[in-house]
């Protein structure tokens, strides 16, 4: 064995005595803040910098999130570009590095809204923010064991969306349009994604009440239009006329399904989708889609930034709020043919102006863990 490797192993092997000493030191250090009276007095920040950390600009969803953040900073009398975009491009490492850089640049005088890109990344992110004395609110991704009240006032809130119930509602609309009988196929999102799992579960819940409807198959179309057309075409070969309804995990997949059916000259197949994108709402109005579900990313983007900002300025103290104000579900709106025109007028043609201090009004209650 080379001396280099040997030295390395010696250095890396934990010596029992050192381990005990280090543990004792660590426990002692942890006890110190408690001895000083909880989290200690934190000075409220005046005029903190505001940032949004998110995945990319290649989708309508994230653009809408950012537009909400911009609407919020404008409500403070600041220009749009005072909202700093930290774009992680789907990399958790970049997400954490960007946030650390922003904390260093502002010397901790900042409020951050963030989707941590994946669940395990949420903990290092909120811990870095806490250590810098800044404030953060997160959406979508965090592990089930991470809670704002365990981290302290600096981790203001977490919002996510429960997709199971709305997906069940769209499934019921679909089954009723199918006359309560026939065969349905489900084209899902990326199999390991939480929303994809919840949306399929919603469909399965609805199936329990419709014994004459058979789930022919459920496969992943990766949230993608092209994959959606090709999967639907293959389903048509496999099941043919047995397919009398299609349940899609999002609007993009539904666009592909509609094109696969158009290629075959099939008209009037009942289809439901999810996301409430403008094109999908138009398809609902035209009767090409039965229903879709809107999660209001504009409001989500604005309110997440607002929560972090107002906690930072001391407008409210997170630890004095009940748990359902610190972990809650975002709003979902079901859009069907009856209300699509109203929805379009209210949410898409004009962007509604929100009261960015009404933090919890539109929410859907405290997050439940299974």
């Amino acid at each position: 064995m080379s001396t280099f490797i040997k030295d390395f192993i010696e250095r890396e092997t934990i010596n029992r005595r050192n381990f005990l000493l280090a543990t004792a030191a660590g426990m002692g250090a942890m006890a110190v803040p408690f001895g000083l009276g909880g989290g200690g007095a934190q000075a409220a920040l005046t005029d903190p910098a505001i940032a949004w950390s998110y995945r990319d600009r290649a989708s309508a969803y994230w653009n809408s999130i950012v537009s909400g953040g911009e609407a919020f900073v404008e409500s403070l009398g600041k220009p749009k570009d005072s909202l700093v975009s930290l774009i992680n491009e789907g990399s958790s490492e970049k997400s954490l590095a960007d946030i650390k850089a922003f904390l260093a640049k502002t010397n901790g005088k900042c409020a951050i809204a963030c989707d941590a890109n994946d669940s395990p990344n949420a903990r290092p992110v909120v811990e870095a923010v806490r250590d810098a004395g800044a404030y953060i609110s997160t959406i979508w991704n965090k592990t089930d064991d991470l809670h704002p009240w365990d981290i302290g006032d600096n981790y203001v809130s977490h919002m996510t969306w429960s997709d199971e119930k709305p997906a069940e509602q769209t499934a019921r609309i679909l089954f009723e349009a199918m006359g309560g009988k026939g065969g349905v196929v489900h084209l899902g999102g990326i199999a390991a994604n939480n929303p994809a799992i919840e949306r399929l579960n919603g469909l399965k819940n609805a199936l329990k009440d419709f014994p004459n409807i058979e789930l022919l198959d459920a496969q992943s179309a990766d949230w993608d239009t092209t994959k959606g057309t090709e999967l639907m075409a293959s389903f048509l070969t496999r099941f043919g006329d047995k397919i009398t309804g299609v349940h899609c995990a999002n609007d993009n997949i539904a666009y592909g399904v509609i094109e696969a059916l158009r290629a075959e000259g099939i008209e009037g197949m009942p289809i439901v989708a999810y996301d409430g994108n403008p094109e999908a709402v138009k398809l609902v109005m035209d009767g090409k889609l039965l229903a879709t579900v809107f999660t209001n990313p504009h409001w989500g983007g604005g309110i997440t930034a607002a929560l972090a900002y107002y906690a930072a300025t001391g407008a409210f103290k997170p630890s004095e709020e009940p748990k359902e104000h610190r972990e809650f579900y975002g709003p979902t709106i079901l859009i069907s043919n009856k209300d699509a025109a109203d929805f379009k007028a209210k949410y898409l043609d004009t962007v509604p102006s929100y009261n960015w201090k009404d933090f919890w009004g539109p929410g859907n209650g405290q997050i439940k863990y299974k």
Binding site: A58, N63, D224, T229, L231, T237, G256, E259, R262, A263
Partner: protein, 321 residues
């Protein structure tokens, strides 16, 4: 009488035999695989991918690689939709002008790719990969992340109008394939691609202007990517900044599975056609026989490896890099 069962013949026909074997296999498991309607579905899925793969075939025959297709397809698809809508939104109202314009844009982007590669002496995989990112970025900038819908019924006839059960776009792709074959087999440029791929120094010493041939190759590839973009819009009725995604893996896999050697000088557009059909048949067949989706990626990978083993003459190369 010349011997038919030589080793060379076996390797030359291996991709086609693989394709036939797959069709027999899938049909045995689910007979509805072998239906004219399903073949039309496979053809629709394969058509834009075929155009991308034909484009990159020229580059691979030259012994280079082009990884810009995703960005170029996204950018040209988005530009095509914007231009069509700006020109009145229908083919009849003057929108047809968008078609030659976009083909020229594709060729120009390819030429830029070639210039970066040749003039700045940057390896082709690096230059093209970078240019692909530029293309995707430009598409995001143009669309702001939104979807551009384009649903002129005349244009969509490429998908909806059928002749002998196959949509029009399949015949358009067929004509483009014949054009590609003509370039490959009956033009000086086509022969030069093989000369450069077979031995660049030798070609250079024989008076072939290798740098110009390379630039022409990249430009030609860009032209075919633009055809793919137009057919993809015809297939989906929309364009967005991710329209080109997945084409990189799909096209390069198809080219190699079809028996075009990555080290250059071997194979051609007919190999590519067979390769694209193999990949499309596998993708369709796996769903048709009811293979669970968590197995599909693994099975696709295994079948691709088997197809490459069967269809390339590895005894003739000293080493593979």
């Amino acid at each position: 009488m010349p011997r038919i069962l030589t080793r060379e013949n076996a390797i030359r026909w291996a991709p086609l035999l693989v394709l036939l074997a797959l069709i027999v296999l899938f049909t045995a498991i689910n007979p509805s695989f072998l239906s004219q309607r399903n073949f039309a579905r496979i053809a629709i899925a394969a058509t834009p991918a075929l155009m991308v793969a034909v484009g990159v075939t020229f580059i691979i025959v030259m012994g280079s690689i082009d990884l810009s297709m995703e960005g170029v397809v996204s950018l040209t698809a988005v530009l095509f939709c914007f231009l069509m809508l700006a020109l009145g939104g229908t083919l009849a109202s003057g929108g047809w002008i968008a078609i030659p314009v976009i083909l020229a844009v594709g060729a120009a982007v390819g030429l830029v790719n070639g210039l970066i590669h040749v003039k700045l002496k940057i390896p082709s995989f690096m230059a093209s990969l970078a240019l692909g990112f530029v293309g995707t970025g430009a598409a995001i900038l143009l669309t702001g992340g939104d979807i551009v819908k384009f649903n002129d019924p005349t244009f969509r006839a490429l998908l909806t109008w059928r002749i002998l059960g196959f949509p029009l776009m399949v015949y358009v792709a067929g004509l483009c394939l014949v054009l590609a074959w003509f370039i490959q087999a009956h033009t000086r440029l086509g022969r030069y691609f093989y000369a450069v791929g077979g031995g660049e120094e030798l070609a250079h010493a024989s008076g072939v202007r290798v740098r110009q041939v390379r630039m022409a190759g990249f430009s030609l590839a860009g032209f075919f990517y633009a055809i793919a973009a137009i057919l993809q819009v015809a297939k989906l009725g929309q364009a967005e900044s991710v329209t080109g995604s997945n084409f990189m893996f799909m096209s390069i896999t198809s080219v190699v599975v079809g028996g075009v050697a990555l080290w250059g000088g071997v194979g051609g557009v007919w190999n590519t056609l067979v390769g694209v059909l193999i990949v499309a048949v596998i993708n369709n067949g796996m769903v048709v026989i009811g293979l669970p989706d968590f197995l599909q990626a693994a099975v696709l990978g295994l079948l691709v490896i088997i197809a490459v083993i069967l269809s390339t003459d590895r005894r003739s190369v000293a080493f593979v890099k």
